[in-house]
Symmetry: C2
DNA sequence: GCGCCACTTTGCGCCATGACAAATTCGCCG
DNA sequence: CGGCGAATTTGTCATGGCGCAAAGTGGCGC
């Protein structure tokens, strides 16, 4: 197996501060893996053999309850570190990560984690910030679920998706990976029926444009007002 | 000001692995502060001047939405590190921490954080685990809010409170700090009215015993069954 | 090119829960 | 010890959104 090229990751914020030598060292312990759309990178409760950095693609992270209900925890975008169960004192993954498009990730054996952190303290700092960011996102979600009605939650969810994965198209901003009504329902704590109804209503109002596993925000501004508690109607 | 005694914190898991010398060094940068019941340790959006370790008492951490609604993020128990906004790349506190009983905490100036982490890598490891634990708790809460009805959420919340702050009394397990119906409502994403009704019903069934800002679990086992989806009724 | 299947839309009825409104009780302060 | 205010209980009513059911619809595989 050829050594991985440092230029693969040199541009990622996570590795920005590493020298070329250090990157070579880091990458020495990693392997690059391809995950076909629909395949799992890891599964909930399985032993946490590896941790990862996503190079390309998009992953959906899902928790499954004992009675089979699913909740979308988050989407992972390129550049993110994930699967660091080891870093938080777990020996199994707390959720399942599935590629929603063909994806590529670097994988390190979990036992390498303590060594790397010891060698590169910056890794710890960076990981703390990542964890902190996720904690805040998740808390925001709790606050939204506690205080906002479904329609506003869906609006917030779409705006967030557009922000992290939005692609400009003629008609507006398209979420650039396949996402179903069911997925959105699992992100916002509702049912796909309700999401479908909401999106249909928005489509009538010209706020979004639908499609099979496709969503385009046609009027992010009005959607934002709606998310913040205004009606989202045009004035006058 | 006299130097703080290392024995104050030597027994805390967070500091377990530190030598007496190191503890002295750590404590050299800290001051001990008392917070009367009802006073704030820090406030949401205020500059994050310090980070803390709670020595004694109990804090309630609350987020307030723009329109004034509150959500209880978590309770902090003695031994926990908190207010580490700096560690996660923030310069203001994301929530308000209030003493629900008279409390004592150690405070370090935020600028000390990077130095201490650099000097004691174990601090970083430990903090990552703390953050990871909180992330998981918060995610569990999202999953519960998404998939469970209010009654089960309240049951889970009480069991969790009892586990981390339960005190055995003759009649069962008492939550050992003042907590109102409103607080429980803000932890579970419902209203105090609904919480009051649920607790009244449980009291009739002999599951709990109420009181002003006081709750005693009389039958944790049946409450657990109820939380897990069974009825919580006695068989036969 | 056709057919199947996954995804989506929509209608309908109900019910858990929120909103509103009082009344009541308990603890504490003066 | 009386009174006040905060916390709690309870009743009534309204409704958002879920469960269930079924019909479209578009994309993909064969």
């Amino acid at each position: 197996m050829p050594a991985l090229d440092p230029s693969l990751v040199a541009h990622l914020p996570l590795f920005r501060a590493f020298s070329r030598e250090q990157l070579k060292d880091l990458l020495g312990g990693a392997t690059s893996r391809r995950y076909a759309k629909g395949s799992n990178v890891f599964e909930q409760d399985a032993p946490a053999h590896s941790f990862f950095v996503l190079l390309d693609g998009r992953l959906r992270v899902v928790k499954i309850t004992p009675d089979g209900q699913q909740v979308v925890v988050r989407y992972i975008t390129p550049g993110e570190i994930f699967g660091i169960a080891m870093a938080i004192g777990r020996d199994s993954y707390p959720a399942t990560a599935t590629a929603v498009v063909d994806s590529v990730a670097l994988a390190w054996p979990s036992p390498l984690w303590p060594q790397l952190v010891a060698k590169y303290p910056m890794l710890a700092t960076s990981t703390m910030q990542t964890l902190g960011g996720r904690l805040q996102e998740t808390q925001t979600r709790v606050v939204e679920m506690s205080t906002e009605e479904v329609e506003r939650r869906v609006a917030h969810a779409l705006l967030r998706l557009a922000q992290q994965s939005g692609k400009k198209v003629e008609r507006g901003i398209e979420i650039d990976f396949p996402i179903s009504r069911q997925d959105i329902a699992e992100m916002t704590g509702t049912t796909l029926h309700t999401v479908s109804r909401i999106l249909s209503a928005w489509e009538d109002r010209g706020l979004v444009e639908g499609g099979r596993q496709r969503i385009v925000l046609k009027d992010a501004h009005r959607l934002f007002m709606l998310a913040e508690g205004q009606s989202g109607d045009r004035p006058g």
